[in-house]
């Protein structure tokens, strides 16, 4: 900037505004977001309990240990399952419902509120509520057990059933969020477009498939983005339902980080898990924005 320009910048009050208004955000963000992430990268090479100075340098051993740990591999696999269910069950369900209730009528508003309600509930409360219904002594499974006079089933303490139950609760909790994204997008589709198609004799199904869904592409891209980022960070919902059990079969990356890093005070190892999670999220976000979300930028 030319000296003249700078003098004007200083004298018309812009300099003082910048000097007063930017630092709070920058300091807060740097101290609590950026620095901890750099620290995590630094700690990941140590075997350290978090007290005193990190001294015992172990190189990449934390990463090797993690990669070789069957529970970590299971947690990655579980995360993939969550992503799969989000993409292939949750988003289609959300879109179907959005198409059914996008128009502004009184009854649609009520349905919209109902479907969105699980999203507003805390994960902890949702998980606790559902662990009641899937408790083999109470709830749905107990009823089924009695009706078919079987032994009580405890799906959440069963290695085969715990994960499907969690996946079900995930869809229950989050489909309303995606539905809202689709409804917002549907409401921005000009009405003359659908009216014209109607006059030409198109059935509602044809209008949905040929006009509305293609126009929903940007919304679908956003929805997929949130699904995947959210799946990678799933934690709160798992804790009250299984806490990662039975026998470590339902861990996600974050419950794994919590159980094997924080609870056991292995700061180096936990940081290494954190770095892996960080790299996965950021790499995905960058790639996704470069490729899929690109056309939306116009």
């Amino acid at each position: 900037m030319a000296p003249n320009g700078f003098r004007r910048f200083a004298s018309d009050g812009r300099l003082i505004t910048v000097a007063l208004f930017l630092p709070p955000a920058l300091l807060l963000f740097t101290f609590f977001v950026t620095l901890p992430l750099f620290d995590a990268a630094g700690y990941a090479g140590y075997n350290w309990s978090g007290y005193g100075e990190p001294e015992q340098w172990v190189g990449t051993r934390n990463f090797e240990q993690m990669a070789g740990h069957s529970v970590f591999q299971q947690s990655l696999w579980n995360t993939l399952k969550v992503i799969g269910v989000s993409l292939f069950i949750q988003i289609p369900l959300a879109m179907t419902l959005a198409l059914l209730i996008a128009s502004k009528t009184w009854s649609n508003t009520v349905f919209r509120l109902i479907f969105f309600m699980p999203f507003i509930m805390a994960e902890i409360a949702t998980g606790l509520m559902w662990s009641f219904f899937f408790d083999g002594d109470y709830g749905v499974t107990a009823m089924l057990g009695r009706v078919f006079s079987m032994d009580p089933i405890y799906p959440l303490s069963d290695r085969t059933w715990a994960m499907p139950v969690i996946l079900f609760v995930i869809v229950w909790k989050y489909f309303g969020f995606h539905m809202m994204i689709f409804i917002a997008a549907l409401q921005s589709i000009p009405e003359d477009l659908t009216e014209a198609a109607q006059i030409d004799g198109a059935t509602p199904f044809q209008i949905a498939r040929r006009i509305k869904i293609p126009l929903l592409k940007p919304a679908i891209a956003v929805s997929i983005f949130f699904s995947i980022i959210g799946s990678l960070q799933l934690f709160d919902l798992i804790v009250p339902m299984t806490g990662g059990g039975p026998s470590n079969s339902t861990h996600t990356i974050v419950t794994y980080l919590y159980t094997f890093g924080i609870v056991r005070l292995k700061v180096g190892f936990g940081s290494a898990v954190g770095i892996v999670l960080f790299v996965m999220c950021v790499a995905f976000a960058f790639l996704y924005q470069r490729t899929v979300m690109r056309p939306e930028a116009e």
Partner: protein, 280 residues
Amino acid sequence: MANRSVGANPVNVTMRWVVLMCMAAMILVPIIAAILGGFKTTGELRVEPFSIPDTWHTEFYGEILLDSSFWKYLGNSLFIATMTVLITIIVASMAAFVFSHIKFFGSTYIMSYLLLGLMFPFAAAIIPLFLKVRDIGLLDSHWGVILPQAAFGLGFATLLFKTFFDEMPKELFEAATLEGCSYIRFFVRFTMPLSTPIIATVSVFVFVGSWNNYLLPLVVLNDREMFPWTLGMMQFRGEYIVEWNRILAFVSLTLAPAVAFFLVAQKYIVAGLTGGSLKG
């Protein structure tokens, strides 16, 4: 639209209603059963999880409502959420104001730096964050939850504020500066009062995020006196592990404020989902 066109075919109309009613039941039945469950004895709950209670036992709800620690948990959550909202709003709106009105060398880079926070997973940094909070002596303090929450919410809040500020009429700003109004005065006297819709949207999102947060307080807070309700609820569950009626009563009591808040604030929640553009 969809309605009228579907209306042509009675089979479609029926199908549509069946699908919608089934989905609504999937959502409402568990919630209502949980609320009713708090009025039953464990014996009745075991046999009839979904029925109307035979006799309405109010003592389980009553005991929680009369328990001072329940209110302490809610009070702690309220304090943490309110402070997080205030700090996020003030800090993010100031930064967004600069990005929107003052162009200088590097401003877009600084903006992108803050926006990186949008994709940083909070959990990835949780251990170093714990150590940071410990080293500055904020463990077992509400501020140890508030400040990191505000920091991680900054990217999102700054983005929404900047989008909103950019859409405000430029003439207003030009006229004010011609009259000799300083940037800071303009921000306080005009920008903020005209930004109530976006302030509301950001507040609702930050508030709900903080109110429901579990991982950060779990790591930062050890003292039960400081617990927000999410930690308190897990504590309560640990104490009454076999008494589902008490746990359901507790869950239901925490659902009530969430649902009430949602009904009041839903306009702003929907606005936030559509990128801060508020219509009507």
